[in-house]
Every structure is written in C-alpha cells, then in structure tokens.
C-alpha cells in the first residue's frame, strides 16, 4: 500500500512504452500517468494497442523500450507478481477464473505463500465477505464459479483484485458483458473505490461510458498515442474522430420494406446443454427486408437460438416454420439447403479451420456439392476459383488462396466467412456477433453488407451484446433473458435503458416459462 506521503505524486507512470510483434508495432512510445484517486480512460479501436499496453504494465509482456513506475518505484519487466505486489490489479475482459473451483478458491488462488503448509480459508472468507460488503459486490463465497452469471463472475474478478489490496485497478472492457443498469451499478462501485483512494484505468471503446466515468482520456490508434484530453474539454464526436482518425461515416440507412416472414418460431423450446441455456417458449418472426436485432446479456439463450437456426439444434417442443412450412428434418445440411447464411459467433473456433487454406475454408459448407465435388471427388480448381472470387469481391487481404487462414487478421477472416455465405445471395442470414473484435473499417464493411442484403429482401437476425450496434441497425428488436424472448420492439420505440430493464429479466410476464 502506498505511504501517505506519496499520495501527491502520480501512482503510476508509463514512460515511452514500445512493443513490437514481428513487423507490427503494437505500442509506439506510449506515456501515461495516473494520479491518486483518478479515473482515466484508455480509448481506442480493437487492435489499437490498449490491451498490449496493459499486459506490459501487468507484466504479462516485456516492453522493447520504456519503463513502468508504480508509486515511484520502477517495476521489473515481465513479472506479474511484482505488479500485483506493487498494488496493480487487473480485471480481464476474458475472466481469468476457473469454473470448477469455488468463488473463495478463485479469490484465494495465488494469495498465500505457495509452499505454505495449509490454506487459511477461514481468514480468507472473512476478508472476502468484508470486501464484498464494503463495495456492494455481493457474492456467495462457496458457490461453484461455473454456476454464476456473467455479472456475478465480473464481481468475483473485481473482488479478486481488491482482495490483493490493489491500489490501481485496470478494467479491460468491463461493460461489454453487462446491461446498462449493471454497468451503472459497476460505475457506482468504482466511484466508491475511487473515494477510498484507488486509481482506475478504464479501457473501452464506448464513448458515452468513457465520458461518464473518466476524468481524462488517452486515445490510442494503430499503436500510437494520438491524444490526451480532459473529459470536460471534449465531446463524444471529437473523441470518435480522434479514435478512428477520420470523420465516422455511419452506414447509410434506408427505410425498411418488410415482406413476409421467412422464418418463424412458435413457442419453441430447446433443452439446456451443459452450461448453455436452452430456449423456453420462444416466438420469433424474421421478415424479408428487415434486420431483427437480438439484445441480451451473453449466456441467456443466444447460443441456443443461433444453434437452432444454424441447424445444430432441434426444437424439443414448439414449431419452426421456414417459408411458412415446417421442415421435415432439421440439421446443418437442411439449414444450408434452405439457404440460411450463417455467420458464427467465434470465427476462430467455429467459423474457420486455422490450418486450412483460404480455398479449403471457402468451401467448408459446400465441400460435397457441385461444383466443388462430384461423386465424392473434389474439384480443387473450382474451389480455388470460388475462393479467388470471394477474395476479390469482398476485399480479403491475403497473399493468395493457398495461404493458411490462421495468418489472416480477424477482419479479413470475417470477410472470407461473409463472402462464402453471401455469394449465394441468401434469403435468411444469421449474423452472430458479426463485428466483435473488428476495427472500424471492417465493422463498416460488414454492416454495409448486412444492410445491403436486407435492402435486397433478405431477413437478417443480428445477435449482439453491443446495444449501440443493435439500436443502430435493427428494424425490430427482441430481448432475450433466461431463454425467454421479449415481444418485438419497433425501431425507435426503445432506449438503451429500456432494453436494459428487459435484459435484466423485468417485463417478462410470470408463468410464461412454464412451457
């Protein structure tokens, strides 16, 4: 803990931090200082270098140049223990928690001398319960972590840092998984911490949050520090331009011309699968010429709905209608046969095969159909031509169709996936988190494609945790919570706060989930 005499100097000073990965300069001479009790925001697009910078501060990476000073002491590089001991705590975007351990075990991990004779669980429990009370972060110490909701897990992640007496808290995109109301509660907890003298670095790409919580904003772009402003001296538009480097052009939005329902779900139920929540009596209609947005906190049934439409899951009760008729069979093959374009949530794990070439990945969903296959024999020339055409039409930056897809950036990978399904001019499009983790150029490209598909009469289901994205693109919005679906809300009738209430489970009438 910092001696009081030092309270006036900066608690943290990053000086000239530079980090290269091969040819890529992830951080180019970045300098940041943090005063006691201050909240600063680190703003930048995906890939701007925010996470790399924090990983250097936390000792996960060593910088090629520059120094890190905490409370006036230079931190040794590449040593997370030193960072922790100096009072730096990090709340990772992807929680670093073990599902099969209890909350208490997760918190205690690494806090007691490794070669100690015995774990002191009683003392740890008392301290954890005290902290939880002090900061309003209630959580059951004995619950198995895997049984907690995303919001509760984040609380554990924050408590973990507080338990280690962190004086500097780094939060990496903490609101990405929260409802607006949960985000507000988080902000309240953060303010309590600041009041007790903690300093906070808040990493985000959401402008209104940055404006709400931080006093100062450091903006990164392509690894460079492009600006540092007090929140009082700026506005969201200026920040956005600083972050992107040019004026932001929203994809052009034309009025929707809704057609008939191409895919309909009536009281559809799917079973829970392990930790994946199933659907409980879902009614949904995807109409031609519209984008339907699905908002919700992750883990509330989005995966089940996506799997159902993708052909990986079947309704255990209820009805699914395609073009007005119930399909006799339902599998991936039927879904593909029905012309459903599927953009999966995880392009690395489900969308592509890393060590397959672009050509092999391009035909992944149609490898056994003409023109790519005939009686079990593959036609590599046809496959390569198709890959070439996708690469050209969708501007996939790559050395060529024979490159392993592992070597492509996320944006280019997503463009290949988009191209492989859009080339067939699909009538129904399942877009599950289509822009997550992409930079602004790729985001605009993907969103423009989805809007174009809608304008030519396709029905699009857009699943996203980003309410801004849902609100901007959707003609109608459903909220999903605990496997239940809200009624559709037309464009412009709901605010983010309204949706947040539904996301938290309010508004769903009781008894509906009895089905």
């Amino acid at each position: 803990m910092a001696p009081d005499s030092m309270a006036q100097g900066p608690v943290l000073r990053l000086d000239g931090i530079t980090k290269r990965f091969g040819a890529l300069v992830a951080n180019d001479a970045i300098s940041v200082t943090l005063a006691p009790g201050e909240v600063i925001a680190l703003l930048g697009e995906n890939g701007a270098g925010k996470t790399t910078l924090m990983n250097i501060l936390f000792g996960h990476y060593t910088a090629d140049a520059g120094t890190v000073e905490v409370f006036g002491q230079t931190l040794p590089q590449g040593n997370p223990r030193a960072a922790l001991a100096a009072g730096v705590g990090m709340v990772h975007q992807h929680f670093t928690l073990a599902d099969n351990l209890s909350v208490l075990e997760n918190v205690v991990l690494g806090t007691q001398p490794l070669w100690g004779a015995r774990l002191d669980m009683a003392g740890a429990r008392a301290k954890l319960v005290g902290l939880a009370q002090d900061f309003g972060l209630a959580v059951d110490p004995d619950a198995r972590l895997g049984s907690l909701s995303v919001g509760e897990r984040q609380r554990v992640e924050i408590l973990k840092a507080l338990y280690r007496d962190a004086r500097i808290l780094i939060l990496d995109e903490p609101t990405a998984v929260l409802t607006p109301q949960q985000a507000d509660a988080l902000f309240a907890a953060l303010r309590k911490m600041v009041a007790q003298g903690l300093s906070i670095i808040f990493i985000s790409h959401k402008l209104h949050e940055v404006m709400a919580i931080a006093s100062r904003v450091v903006v990164l772009r392509h690894g460079k520090q492009v600006g540092e402003v007090a929140v009082s001296d700026t506005d969201p538009r200026a920040l956005a331009e600083m972050m992107v480097g040019s004026a932001i052009t929203q994809p052009e939005l034309r009025a929707a011309t809704p057609g008939p329902a191409l895919l309909e779900l009536r009281k559809v139920v799917t079973p829970d699968r392990g930790t994946t929540r199933g659907l409980r009596g879902v009614d949904l209609a995807l109409r031609a010429g519209t984008i339907t947005g699905l908002a919700g906190v992750s883990g509330n049934g989005q995966a089940a709905l996506a799997d159902l439409i993708a052909g990986l899951e079947r309704p255990s009760a209820g009805e699914m209608l395609l073009h007005g008729a119930a399909p006799a069979q339902w599998s991936v093959a039927e879904a593909l046969g029905a012309g459903i374009a599927r953009i999966p949530e995880d392009r690395h794990k489900t969308g592509t095969i890393a060590d397959f070439s672009l050509t092999e990945n391009a035909i992944l969903e149609r490898y056994n159909q003409a023109p790519f296959a005939r009686r079990g024999w593959l036609d590599w020339r046809a496959a390569r031509d198709f890959a070439q055409s996708v690469i050209r039409a969708y501007d996939v930056r790559c050395p060529g169709p024979d490159t392993r897809i592992r070597l492509l950036s996320g944006g280019n990978m997503q463009k290949l996936i988009l191209g492989r399904v859009m080339e067939l001019r699909p009538q129904i499009i399942l877009a599950n988190q289509p822009v997550r983790g992409l930079d602004i150029g790729a985001i605009t490209f993907v969103q423009t494609q989805l809007l174009a598909a809608r304008d030519r009469g396709a029905a699009v289901l857009l699943i996203s945790e980003d309410l801004d994205e849902i609100l901007a693109l959707s003609d109608q919005i459903h909220v999903i919570s605990e496997g239940r679906l809200s009624p559709p809300f037309a464009r412009g009738t709901m605010s983010a706060t309204d949706l947040g209430r539904w996301m938290a489970g309010e508004g769903f009438e009781r008894g509906r989930d009895a089905a």
């Binding site: 052909g311 095969i353 079990g376 024999w377 592992r406």
Partner: protein, 349 residues
Amino acid sequence: MRLEVIARPSLGRLIGFPAIALALTVVFGSSLALLAGANPFQTLGLILRGAAGSQFALLETLNRATPLIFTGLAVAVAFRAKLWNIGAEAQLYAGALMAVLLGTGALGWPSALLLPAMAGAAMLAGALVLLGPALLKTRLGVDEVVTTLLFNFIMLLFISMLLEGPLKDPMGMGWPQSSRLIPDARLPRIVDGLRLHWGFALALIAAILVWVIQSRTTLGYEMRAVGQNRQAAEFAGIPVGRVILKTALLSGGLAALAGFSEVAGLRGNLSLDLSPGFGYTGIIVAMLALLNPIGVVISAIFVAGVFVGADSMSRAAGVPTYIANIMLATALLTMVLAIALTRYRLRWD
C-alpha cells in the same frame, strides 16, 4: 514465455531443425554404443551395412518395412482425424488371424480368389476391432487412447488362447503356433529368386490410395477437417461421428493388412511372435512422416533399416539390439520438437 507463429518459415528453419534432430539422434545413439564399449563409428557403419550393404540386406529391410508401411498408414490416417488409434497391434493380429482361418485349407479356392478373400476378411476384422473403441468414443465419449491400448493386451491373450486351443498346429511339436497356410494362400515373390513378396507392392499401392483419398476426395477433406477443428467441422455440417467411424474402419483395415501380409507373405503361419511391436512402431513411422502417406513409405523403410541394421550390428559388435528402439524413440521426440520449431518461435516475454 510463449510460442509465436512464424508466418513464412525460412528454408534454413525448415531444413535446419529436422537436420539437428537427426544429428542429435545419431550422436545419442553413438554415445550409447560407446557406453556399451563399442566404437561408435564402427557401430553406425555396421548398422548401415546391415540395413543396406548388400542385396540381401536391402531386401531384408524392405521385407521388414512392409508391415510398418501398413501400420504407419493406419496410424497416419487415424491421427490425421485426431482418432488416437494406439491399437494397430491388435488390428494386425486380427488380420493375421483371418488370413490363417481362411488360408489353412478352409477355402479351396484358387490363389487369385483366395488371396483377395483373405485380404478382404483381414481388413474387415481389423476394422471391426477398431470400431469398438471408435463407437465408445463417439457414443459415450470414452477416450480411445486407453481403450485401444488395452485392446492390444486382450487381443494377444485371445490369440494365445486360440493357438493353444482350436488353432494349435498338430504337427507343431507342442509350440503355440497355427498350421501352415496352403501354397495357394501364400503371397508370391515379386521377382523369382529375390526374397521380396507381393505384400511390399500391396503396401505401396495402399500408400498411394490413402494419399489419393486424403487429398482428392470429400472423405479425405472431412477427415482432415474433423482432425483440425472438430467444432468448425460440426458447424459446417460435416457428420463428425460418422467420419470418425469411417476413419476407424479405414485405419483398422490398413493395420490388419500388415498381419495378412506377414502371415501370407513371410511367415506362412501365425504365432505369438508374429509382430515385434509393429503396431507401436507404426506410430513412430507415421510421426516421422508427418502423417503424410507417401512419407510413410520412406520413413517405414528408414525405421526398418535401423532395426535390421541394429540386429546385424548386435551380432557383430555385441551392442544390445535395443539401441534401435532407443534411437527411434529419440528420433520421434526430437523430430516432433523440430517440426514445431519450424512453425513456432519460442519467445521469452
């Protein structure tokens, strides 16, 4: 510490690391020879001469390579789909058993019919032996590594039971071995007077067929996709379970051909010393070949050469013949590491 993918590895890397691995293996083998009180250069020379120093030695090596090509292919096919078939030994004996069951007079067919029937029955039996563990994997999620390993022991005991019971050769003077195959059930030599049987040619054909399947057919595409990323394969609509079962049938069938070829081409009967671990050695063969079917042929010949050479060296120089197993295990471990180092860089930050 972390591994960094190298986008385009240099030629030096691609050749350098495997070369170092090979050199390490030779150096390690030499020090073992030294330990055994022999001159390492002489030892290596003797191994080389014993493996390829004469026409006889070379043919002996190719004969020994034949079952290794089959088991190597079996492992390569399975591992490519991430089906960990460690049970090639059991499948080999299943194949050998069918060859004996059909070839000792039960079928009086002419050679041109009898041999294909034996080979077909062998493949079927081997496929069925692996089908069990594969079904346990796809249906119940039971790890196939342990089940296939345990099946090896069960199968060997089963064969032992048969050889001391119903299959025991009445003329065998009490030895646990089967009767000899009828002449029409024997694989002929490829060239008269040269001690190399048609099993070797069959192994080459099998290697080419496997290569064609893997690179040109949808089945091969499916097997590779399932092996590389099961989740993505499922999402793309590839019937993962069925592909694993098909892979198992192919892999088990290939391993069984090793048993058929040893019985019909070389031994002429079945005994418990038919395979000195060809099934396990197949793993080394396949890994050294980077699971490439054509590479399997080359690596099988190399591995067979080491064994044959070490046998003859052991007789001349007195170094225990197990030096061959040690060198091959070393080659396996250093080579997997070397291959990884051609693709990844270890970074200390």
